[in-house]
């Protein structure tokens, strides 16, 4: 797939219009995972708008986003940074052999208290 195709695909999957971003940074300002992220939420939006998808696909931040939707709630321009991050992560993990979590990773994590909801959420977010 060409860079351009990949870019269009991520834009389509995210369902959000990154051109509407006015670069105010409110999304990143509200993000609880900000300090864990190499590329910040507002930069996801901006880099995608610039077509710099290769940098996004290498980002470690896709594993730290909590899908808490605080960025979406705060954006004054109705952009959804969380949806951009998810579209990038889905693009990464949908490639053959690129899952961020495998079924065999799960049993050692299970303890007496861990809720099914946690295992299911992580597996859905990190595995395709």
């Amino acid at each position: 797939m060409t860079v351009k195709e990949q870019c269009e695909n991520v834009k389509r999957m995210s369902g959000t219009d990154v051109r509407k971003c006015m670069k105010c940074g409110k999304c990143s300002g509200r993000c609880p995972a900000f300090h864990e992220m190499d590329i910040k939420p507002h930069q996801f939006v901006s880099l995608l708008a610039q077509g710099r998808i290769e940098e996004l696909l290498k980002s470690e931040a896709i594993w730290s986003c909590l899908s808490c939707m605080a960025c979406v709630e705060r954006c004054p321009r109705a952009v959804a940074p969380a949806a951009v991050i998810e579209a990038v992560r889905d693009t990464v993990i949908r490639a053959q052999g690129a899952n961020g979590m495998k079924a065999e990773d799960i049993p050692p994590m299970v303890d007496e208290l861990i809720p099914q909801q946690l295992l299911m959420s992580a597996y859905r977010k990190y595995n395709k």
Partner: protein, 259 residues
């Protein structure tokens, strides 16, 4: 009054306390929660990518069942509520997702988001009424309780339409109805760290400690939630700063129905 109820996986296993106290309390309030037939796991997280269809079908099946059985679907786990409500909105307003899901399911009559999704707290507020609950309280809480909303009930507010996402009040009203004193603290709608703990255990720890410290500073003696994952993170990663319970445990306690 009977209402279709979607329990979800976690309430059948690690969070039975949430399910059981909710059922007992509902009965005492004249509501019978009728578990829907053959429900499947909702997937726990709403898939945001516009081309995800298969991961939304279990929610659509539950919604369609409820459509033909009273038109309302009661949820209790915050995650199930978030997934089912957002999927319902897709079925109502996103023609492409709706037609692809219906094309797969081949229902007798297409599902188009007709069902009303109601969280247990919304049911308490709009169907039973907090005033009526207050009248049935036999053992008032008489303590300071911090409501922890987290993310899933509130956001995205345009779809969830649960409460004001920055300054919610429904759980505080609930605490007041039970004879407790609600404590407002700044981190009550902050994320607990969610599923990221399996990749980065430090983040839920940092978040949970922050949330509980914030509640304690404002005088809370305990914190309540509607989410099994929030409860797990706050209790297990929150360094025991405050005890955390399900909101239904306090409801059952106040109504005097807890065994």
């Amino acid at each position: 009054m009977k209402i279709c109820y979607y329990p979800g996986c976690t309430l059948k296993t690690k969070s039975q306390a949430l399910d059981q106290t909710a059922r007992l309390a509902a009965l005492a309030l004249g509501v019978e929660m009728e578990e829907i037939e053959n429900w499947q796991c909702c997937g726990a997280v709403y898939p945001m990518a516009r081309d995800e269809i298969a991961t939304k079908l279990s929610a659509v099946r539950a919604l369609d069942y409820a459509k033909h059985n009273g038109g309302r679907l009661l949820t209790l786990c915050s995650a199930c509520h978030n997934v089912i409500k957002r999927t319902n909105e897709d079925m109502r307003s996103d023609g492409e997702i709706c037609s692809r899901a219906n094309n797969y399911l081949q229902l007798e009559e297409s599902y188009r988001g007709e069902t009303e999704v109601l969280h247990y707290l919304e049911m308490l507020k709009t169907v039973v009424g907090f005033d009526n609950i207050a009248q049935k309280v036999v053992k008032p809480l008489n303590r300071k309780v911090g409501a922890y909303y987290g993310c899933l009930l509130l956001r995205p507010s345009g779809v969830m339409a649960f409460d004001n996402p920055e300054n919610p009040t429904i759980i505080e009203d609930f605490i007041r109805a039970l004879g407790g004193t609600p404590v407002i603290y700044p981190f009550r709608n902050e994320c607990c760290g969610a599923y990221v703990g399996l990749k980065n255990p430090d983040l839920p720890k940092k978040q949970s400690e922050r949330i509980l410290r914030s509640a304690k500073e404002k005088g809370a003696e305990e914190v309540i939630t509607a989410c099994p994952l929030c409860l797990y993170n706050l209790n297990e990663k929150g360094s025991g700063i405050l005890p955390v319970k399900y909101f239904t445990e306090l409801l059952a306690e106040a109504l005097g129905v807890k065994s």
